[in-house]
């Protein structure tokens, strides 16, 4: 959450609720929106570490609001963020451990484990398809987010298939 908030502030000062709205507009309803409380907590931490600065603005009928802007350190942190490439997604390590260890425990059948896991992925895939159909077609960022999630899931499903192929051959 920290760096996306910094990135949103790169354009200019904003208060917490504005940042939440910016995020919603950009990513659409597909993205599980952080609640406004999470945003305020993160902003507090960013301020403490000197990456942003807040300024109290008086409001006549409501409590004061705090408008944040990026500091030089913040801009530097953001630049460093863009310098780095992101980490690769990881294999579902917990499932893999379960699968690899199953024969030693005698507590679970590997094929049954794969089948159960596949059902879950397929149900999630189905939800994603539905979401893609209901989400605003013109919101490209949001559609790409959903498509990315589907392709990752597809890779996991293909991998389950490979595991099953190998195990069925042995069996």
């Amino acid at each position: 959450m920290r760096l996306p908030l910094l990135a949103l502030l790169a354009r200019g000062p904003a208060h917490g609720y504005e940042l939440k709205q910016d995020l919603e507009q950009l990513l659409g309803s597909a993205y599980p929106q952080p609640n406004v409380g999470q945003i305020y907590v993160t902003l507090g931490r960013l301020e403490k570490s000197g990456l942003i600065e807040g300024e109290e603005v008086e409001q006549s009928s409501r409590p004061n609001k705090k408008i944040y802007h990026l500091t030089d350190a913040g801009r530097e942190a953001l630049r460093a963020w863009y310098e780095e490439t992101a980490d690769e997604p990881r294999v579902r390590d917990e499932f893999f451990m379960k699968l690899a260890l199953a024969p030693r425990t005698g507590l679970a059948d590997q094929i049954a484990l794969i089948n159960k896991q596949r059902r879950q992925y397929l149900n999630t895939m189905r939800e994603l398809s539905r979401l893609a159909a209901t989400e605003d077609r013109d919101n490209r960022v949001s559609q790409l987010l959903i498509e990315g999630a589907m392709l990752h899931l597809q890779a996991d499903l293909d991998w389950l298939e490979r595991c099953q192929e190998e195990l069925e051959e042995q069996g």
């Binding site: 959450m1 920290r2 760096l3 996306p4 597909a30 993205y31 599980p32 059948d109 094929i111 049954a112 089948n115 159960k116 596949r118 059902r119 879950q120 992925y121 397929l122 149900n123 999630t124 895939m125 189905r126 939800e127 994603l128 398809s129 539905r130 979401l131 159909a133 987010l145 959903i146 999630a149 589907m150 990752h152 899931l153 597809q154 499903l157 293909d158 298939e161 490979r162 099953q164 192929e165 069925e168 051959e169």
Partner: protein, 284 residues
């Protein structure tokens, strides 16, 4: 354990409108029994299907004892690695190949005695098929490709044209009537093939890797169209290795090594674990 084939499903379809049926070419030995079951008929039922391919090298056991039942209105996807035998299974179910043993019932009618000609009739009346490579007649126009099965089924020219017009406009192909298949994109050709498969309103649509030669946009298009026809009550059996396409179905059968390894209803209930928000959330 989920390796065992699923128990027969409860089958209670609405009565089917009467239609004149050509007499069976030969009465199967157990036709009596199967017609007793026909009262509770599934659109498609298969029992203990076996098919082995003999070629060079060791015999390939493509389908090894498959029981399957598809209820009216269901959308079933069969997935599995290539070479698992899923296309052979679909070919058996559409009468394009004959099983070594086992039986298939269409709407409760046993097909054991059906010959080539009778299956060809069924593929016009009760079964529509779409293939990976579209299989359109390349020297016929789009309009003629779609109308042909209707005319062969004895429908009047006028009605065939009306059906064709309706389907093509529904599939977003207005203005392409005079085009030849080779002038269309893959996605468009598959839509023409879909129109051809559905022109006689078959109770069952079989689809063999319908997105297998399409790009991801074409795949989305086919997925959307199949879902739409399904929502209107079309029964569909789809064979695909594409998990995204399979997830449009409400039941997914996993096929490995000629056998059903799992048969799962996708009920749309939120999945366990972090589910959809877990896969979408961006983390830093």
């Amino acid at each position: 354990m989920s390796r065992t084939p699923p128990a027969p499903r409860a089958e209670n379809p609405p009565p089917r409108p009467e239609s004149p049926e050509p007499p069976p070419e030969r009465t199967a030995p157990h036709a009596e029994i199967s017609s007793a079951r026909a009262g509770e008929a599934a659109v498609l039922r298969a029992e203990n299907l076996v098919k082995t391919h003999y070629g060079e090298g060791a015999p390939a056991h493509a389908v090894r004892g498959v029981d399957l039942s598809v209820r009216r209105g269901e959308f079933v996807a069969v997935t599995g690695p290539s070479g698992a035998g899923k296309s052979t299974l679909l070919h058996l179910l559409g009468g394009l190949q004959r099983p070594d043993s086992g039986s298939i019932w269409l709407d409760g009618d046993c097909t054991d005695g059906y010959g080539e000609a009778r299956w060809a009739v069924e593929r016009r009346r009760r079964i529509g098929i779409v293939f990976q490579f579209f299989n359109l007649v390349s020297n016929l126009s789009v309009a003629d490709n779609v109308e042909l099965p209707a005319l062969l089924a004895g429908v009047s020219r006028r009605r065939a044209r009306a059906e064709r017009q309706q389907l093509l406009s529904e599939l977003g192909l207005q203005g392409k009537e005079r085009s030849m298949p080779g002038e269309l994109s893959g996605g468009e050709q598959q839509r023409v093939a879909l129109a051809r498969a559905l022109v006689n309103h078959p109770p069952l649509l079989l689809a063999d890797e319908p997105a297998g030669s399409l790009d991801s946009k074409g795949t989305r298009e086919v997925t959307r169209l199949l879902s739409r026809f399904h929502q209107r009550g079309q029964t569909i059996l789809l064979v695909t290795h594409d998990a995204r396409l399979a997830s449009a179905a409400d039941r997914v059968i996993s096929f490995f090594d000629g056998r059903i390894a799992d048969d799962a209803e996708l009920d749309g209930t939120p999945s366990r674990g972090t589910g959809i928000s877990g896969v979408l959330e961006l983390r830093d």
